[in-house]
C-alpha cells in the first residue's frame, strides 16, 4: 500500500521533464495530425542530430562546446523548417509526407556518413534514438520549460492563424494569410522544440508524446480544445505512472512510457469502438474474439521457444568449443557432475594438451582439486610447457597430489631449468615430495650465490631438521657432508633429518 503513494525524490526531474514534453507535444501533435505530417518530428530530429555531428566533425567537442553544438543543430533545424515550408504544395500532387520521408532518410544517411569520420561513432546515433531522460538535471528542465512557455505563448497569441493554416490551408490563403510565412514560423518553432526535446528524451519518446496522445484524443473527441485537454491529462497520467513503474520494476524509463502510451491508445480505441458500434453485443463478441486471437499468437510464440540443452551435454560440448574461454568455463563446470566423473575425466585429461595456456592451467587446477593421480603421466610433460604460468600450476598440482612417482622428472627438469626462480620452485617441490636428490641441486644454486642463492638457502632450510641461521651456508654444507648417506624424510613435517 505504501508503495502506491511513494514517489522517489530522485525521479522528480525526469517526471517534470516528461510533463514539459507532454505540454508542448500534445499541442503540436494536434497540428501535426491535422497537417498529415506525422513523421516531420523524426525528420527534424534527425536534421538536428546531423547538425550536432557536423559540429563535432568541424572540431567542437561534445560535453565541452555545448552551446556551439546546440547552435549548429538549431541552425540545421531551421534550415529543415525552411525546406518543409517551401515544399508544401497546393493540391498535394506529391504528398508532403513523401518529402518528409525523403528528408528523414537523407538526413539519417548523412549523419552516418559524418559519424564514420568522427570520434563519436555509432554510439551517438544510439543516443539520439534513446535519449538520456534518466540523467536529466534540474537546470535543463527549468530552461526547457521556460523556452517552451515562450513558444506556447507565441502559438497562443497567433492561435487563429496557426490553426487555420493547419486545418484549412486553402481557406486561410483565401483569407489573405501568407501561408508560406506562417508555415515557416510553424516549422521553425516546431524544430526549435524538437531539438531540445530530443536531447532530453530521444527520438522515439518524443515521437510518441507527439502522436499517441493526439491520436487517442482524436478517437474520443471532435473539438480541438477537448482533444487538447484529453491529450494533456492522459499524457500527464501516463508519464506519472510510467516514471513510477520504471522505478519499481527496474525497467528503462523511456521505452516503458512509450509502451504504456500505446496501451492507453488501445483502450481509447476500444472505448470508441463500443461507443460508435450500432449493436454493442456484437461489438463485445468481436472484441473477445480479437483477444482470443491475440492470446493464441502469444501462446504460439512462447511454445516455439528454444529448448535448453541438458546441462551436462552442454558442458561436454563446450569442452570442444572453438573459443578458449568456453573451454575454460566448461572445465570449471565439470565438478558439478560428480556422478559422471568416469565419463568426463578422459575429456578433462585431453585438455591438458590444449593450444591455449589458460585452458591447460584450468585443467591442471581441476585435476589437482580432484586429487586424482591417474592423470599424473599426462601432467609430467607440462613441466616443459612454454608458459611459465603453466609450469607453476603443475608444480602446485604435484604438491597437492603428493604423487612421488614424479620426482625423477622433477629433478631432471629442475637441473635443466634456466629460470633461477623457477628452478628453485621445481626443486622445492621435489623436496616436499621427499626426494633427497634435490638437496645437492639446491646446494649448487646456493653456491652460485646472487639473489637466488639466498632464496634457495631459505627454501632448503625450511625442509631440514636441524635449524640453520639465515646465511649460515657453511654450517648447512658441513651438515650435509656429514649426514648425506643417512638422510631420512619425515612425511608429517615434510623435513629431512639425519637417521
Amino acid at each position: 500500500m505504501e508503495q502506491i503513494f511513494y514517489f522517489p525524490e530522485t525521479m522528480i526531474w525526469p517526471l517534470l521533464a516528461c510533463l514539459v514534453l507532454t505540454g508542448i507535444h500534445v499541442y503540436l501533435g494536434v497540428h501535426v495530425i491535422a497537417r498529415k505530417v506525422i513523421f516531420v518530428d523524426l525528420a527534424l530530429a534527425q536534421i538536428a542530430a546531423l547538425g550536432t555531428v557536423t559540429g563535432v566533425l568541424l572540431g567542437y567537442e561534445v560535453g565541452k562546446d555545448i552551446n556551439q553544438l546546440y547552435l549548429y543543430s538549431l541552425a540545421f533545424t531551421f534550415f529543415g523548417a525552411f525546406v518543409f515550408s517551401m515544399t508544401r504544395m497546393r493540391g498535394e500532387k506529391v504528398p508532403h509526407e513523401a518529402i518528409i520521408g525523403i528528408v528523414y532518410a537523407v538526413a539519417f544517411a548523412t549523419t552516418i556518413l559524418v559519424l564514420a569520420r568522427s570520434p563519436l561513432g555509432p554510439l551517438e546515433l544510439d543516443r539520439i534514438i534513446k535519449g538520456e531522460l534518466l540523467w536529466v538535471r534540474s537546470n535543463l528542465v527549468i530552461k526547457t520549460a521556460v523556452l517552451y512557455s515562450v513558444v506556447g505563448a507565441f502559438h497562443y497569441i497567433f492561435r487563429k492563424r496557426f490553426i487555420a493554416i493547419s486545418v484549412h490551408p486553402e481557406k486561410a490563403e483565401q483569407d489573405g494569410i501568407n501561408v508560406r510565412l506562417w508555415d515557416f514560423l510553424f516549422y521553425m518553432s516546431f524544430g526549435f522544440v524538437i531539438t531540445s526535446s530530443v536531447a532530453i528524451a530521444g527520438v522515439f519518446l518524443v515521437f510518441s508524446y507527439l502522436v499517441i496522445p493526439a491520436v487517442g484524443a482524436m478517437l474520443l473527441a471532435e473539438k480541438i480544445s477537448t482533444r487538447l485537454i484529453i491529450g494533456w491529462v492522459g499524457g500527464a497520467i501516463i508519464s506519472f505512472i510510467g516514471v513510477k513503474l520504471s522505478w519499481h520494476t527496474g525497467l528503462p524509463t523511456s521505452p516503458l512510457i512509450v509502451c504504456l502510451l500505446a496501451v492507453t491508445l488501445v483502450v481509447a480505441a476500444v472505448i470508441r469502438y463500443l461507443r460508435v458500434a450500432p449493436n454493442w453485443r456484437r461489438a463485445v463478441l468481436n472484441l473477445l474474439a480479437s483477444a482470443v486471437v491475440f492470446g493464441l499468437f502469444c501462446a504460439g510464440v512462447l511454445f516455439f521457444a528454444k529448448r535448453e540443452e541438458d546441462p551436462y551435454e552442454h558442458t561436454v560440448h563446450m569442452l570442444e568449443s572453438k573459443l578458449a574461454t568456453d573451454r575454460t568455463v566448461a572445465i570449471g563446470k565439470l565438478g558439478s557432475f560428480p556422478d559422471r566423473k568416469n565419463e568426463w575425466l578422459p575429456l578433462l585429461v585431453k585438455r591438458l594438451s590444449d593450444d591455449d595456456a589458460e585452458v591447460r592451467k584450468a585443467a591442471i587446477v581441476e585435476i589437482a582439486d580432484l586429487k586424482d593421480r591417474t592423470a599424473t603421466p599426462q601432467l609430467i610433460p607440462l613441466l616443459h610447457d612454454p608458459s611459465s604460468d603453466v609450469r607453476d600450476k603443475v608444480l602446485k598440482a604435484f604438491r597437492v597430489l603428493g604423487d612421488t612417482s614424479v620426482v625423477t622428472s622433477l629433478i631432471t627438469s629442475g637441473n635443466q631449468e634456466e629460470d633461477p626462480e623457477m628452478k628453485i620452485e621445481i626443486l622445492e617441490t621435489a623436496l616436499e615430495l621427499g626426494d633427497a636428490r634435490a638437496i645437492p641441486a639446491f646446494i649448487e644454486t646456493i653456491n652460485a650465490g646472487g639473489l637466488f642463492g639466498g632464496d634457495a638457502f631459505d627454501q632448503l632450510q625450511r625442509h631440514l631438521d636441524p635449524k640453520f641461521k639465515s646465511g649460515d651456508v657453511a654450517g648447512l654444507k658441513k651438515w650435509w657432508q656429514e649426514n648425506r648417506n643417512r638422510i631420512e624424510f619425515d612425511p608429517q613435517t615434510k623435513r629431512f633429518g639425519a637417521r
Partner: protein, 343 residues
C-alpha cells in the same frame, strides 16, 4: 651513342624500380583490428612488416562499422590479427567480405591475439542466458602490460610460422619489446639486479601478488621503479568507470573500481540503478569517474553534479590522442590522468 646512353639509363632505372618493388613486396602485409595490436605488431615485426589498423582508435572498439576500404585492405593482407573475446566482432564482417582465404579463421594467417591470456570475469554459467556484451569474459585485456607481453609472444610466434626465414629476427624483436615493457613496469635498475629471466620472474611474482613481499624479503623494495612504483599514487584509491574497461588496469596497478555507470551496455539503466550508483559514490567517497572518450558524458556529469566527483575523459587505445601514440605512453597517460584527478 646517345641512344645507347639513354637505353642504359632507362634500363638501370627500371632495375632500381624493380628491385625496390621486390624489396617492398618482401614486407609482410599485416592488418589488425585495433590500434594497440598495430603497435605491438610493429614492435615485434620491425621492418619486416607493414601494419594497418582498421578501427579509428578514438571510436568504441565494440562498435565499428566496416567500410569497403577495410575490405580492400583485408583483401591484400597476409596476416590478420584481432583481439577476440567478442570485442571486435565486426572483424568477422571484414573477413567475410575480404574474399581472402589466407586470413580466414583456422588458417595460419588469422590470429586471435588474446589466446593464452588469463581472461577475467568469465561467465559462471554456461547457458544461452549469457546475453552479455562480454560473453567470453572481459576483453579489455591490453590495459595490463603483463597481458601485452603474452600478446606480443603470440604475434611473434605466428610471424615465425608465417615467415620462418626471419624467425631469429622476430625472436630478437620480441625479446627487445618485452624488455622495454619490463623496464617500463619495474624500472631498469631492478631488471639489471635480477639479471637472467628477470622479466619472467617479476611477471610471475606480480601475477601471484607476491612481488612487494618478495622484494622486501630480498631488501630490493627501494629498487623498484617504473609503473609499478608510480602506480603507488593511485593504489587503493576508489574510482568509478562508465564501462568495465579498466578491470585489468585496476588489478595491475591497485586501483579500486567500485562500480560502473552503465548497468548493461547499450540499454538505459533502470532508475534504481542510477540512484544506487549515486549512493555508492557518496558512501565510498569516490572522487573520480573514468569516462572513455567515446561514451556520452551525460551520465557521468549527472552523477558528478550529485556527488562532487570529478569526470576524467580517458583514451583506451594506442593512437587515440597525442598523448597515447605508443603503448607505453598510453599506460603512462592513464596513470598520470587518474593520479592528477585524485590529487
Amino acid at each position: 651513342m646517345r641512344k645507347l646512353f639513354l637505353l642504359i639509363v632507362t634500363v638501370s632505372f627500371c632495375l632500381i624500380g624493380l628491385s625496390q618493388g621486390l624489396l617492398a613486396q618482401k614486407k609482410m602485409k599485416v592488418v589488425t583490428t585495433l590500434g594497440y595490436l598495430k603497435y605491438v605488431t610493429e614492435q615485434v615485426g620491425g621492418d619486416r612488416v607493414n601494419v594497418t589498423a582498421l578501427a579509428n582508435p578514438k571510436q568504441d572498439p565494440h562498435y565499428v562499422t566496416p567500410t569497403p576500404r577495410m575490405n580492400e585492405v583485408a583483401n591484400g593482407a597476409d596476416f590478420f590479427i584481432e583481439n577476440g573475446l567478442s570485442l571486435d566482432l565486426w572483424a568477422k564482417n571484414v573477413l567475410d567480405a575480404s574474399g581472402n582465404p589466407r586470413i580466414q579463421p583456422g588458417n595460419p594467417g588469422h590470429l586471435v591475439a588474446t589466446i593464452n591470456v588469463p581472461v577475467k570475469e568469465l561467465p559462471t554459467e554456461i547457458s544461452r542466458a549469457w546475453g552479455d556484451i562480454h560473453p567470453q569474459g572481459n576483453p579489455h585485456v591490453w590495459l595490463d602490460p603483463l597481458n601485452v607481453r603474452i600478446i606480443a609472444e603470440n604475434i611473434a610466434n605466428r610471424l615465425k610460422q608465417l615467415d620462418p626465414s626471419n624467425s631469429d629476427y622476430y625472436q630478437k624483436q620480441l625479446d627487445d619489446f618485452r624488455y622495454r615493457i619490463d623496464v617500463a613496469l619495474y624500472g631498469e635498475e631492478l631488471m639489471k639486479i635480477i639479471g637472467k629471466k628477470a622479466g619472467d620472474i617479476l611477471t610471475r611474482k606480480t601475477r601471484n601478488d607476491e612481488l612487494l613481499e618478495w622484494l622486501k624479503s630480498r631488501k630490493l623494495d627501494n629498487k623498484l621503479g617504473g609503473w609499478m612504483k608510480t602506480s603507488a599514487r593511485i593504489a587503493g584509491q576508489k574510482v568509478l568507470s562508465y564501462h568495465k574497461t579498466y578491470i585489468y588496469f585496476a588489478d595491475r596497478f591497485g586501483l579500486n573500481i567500485v562500480g560502473e555507470l552503465e548497468e548493461k551496455p547499450g540499454i538505459p539503466p533502470p532508475p534504481q540503478y542510477r540512484d544506487a550508483v549515486v549512493e555508492l559514490i557518496k558512501r565510498e567517497g569516490v572522487k573520480v569517474i573514468l569516462n572513455d572518450n567515446f561514451y556520452s558524458r551525460d551520465a557521468a556529469d549527472y552523477v558528478a553534479s550529485k556527488t562532487g566527483a570529478k569526470v576524467v575523459i580517458t583514451y583506451v587505445d594506442v593512437g587515440a590522442s597525442e598523448d597515447t601514440q605508443t603503448y607505453e605512453n598510453l599506460i603512462t597517460f592513464l596513470l598520470d590522468q587518474i593520479a592528477a584527478a585524485l590529487a
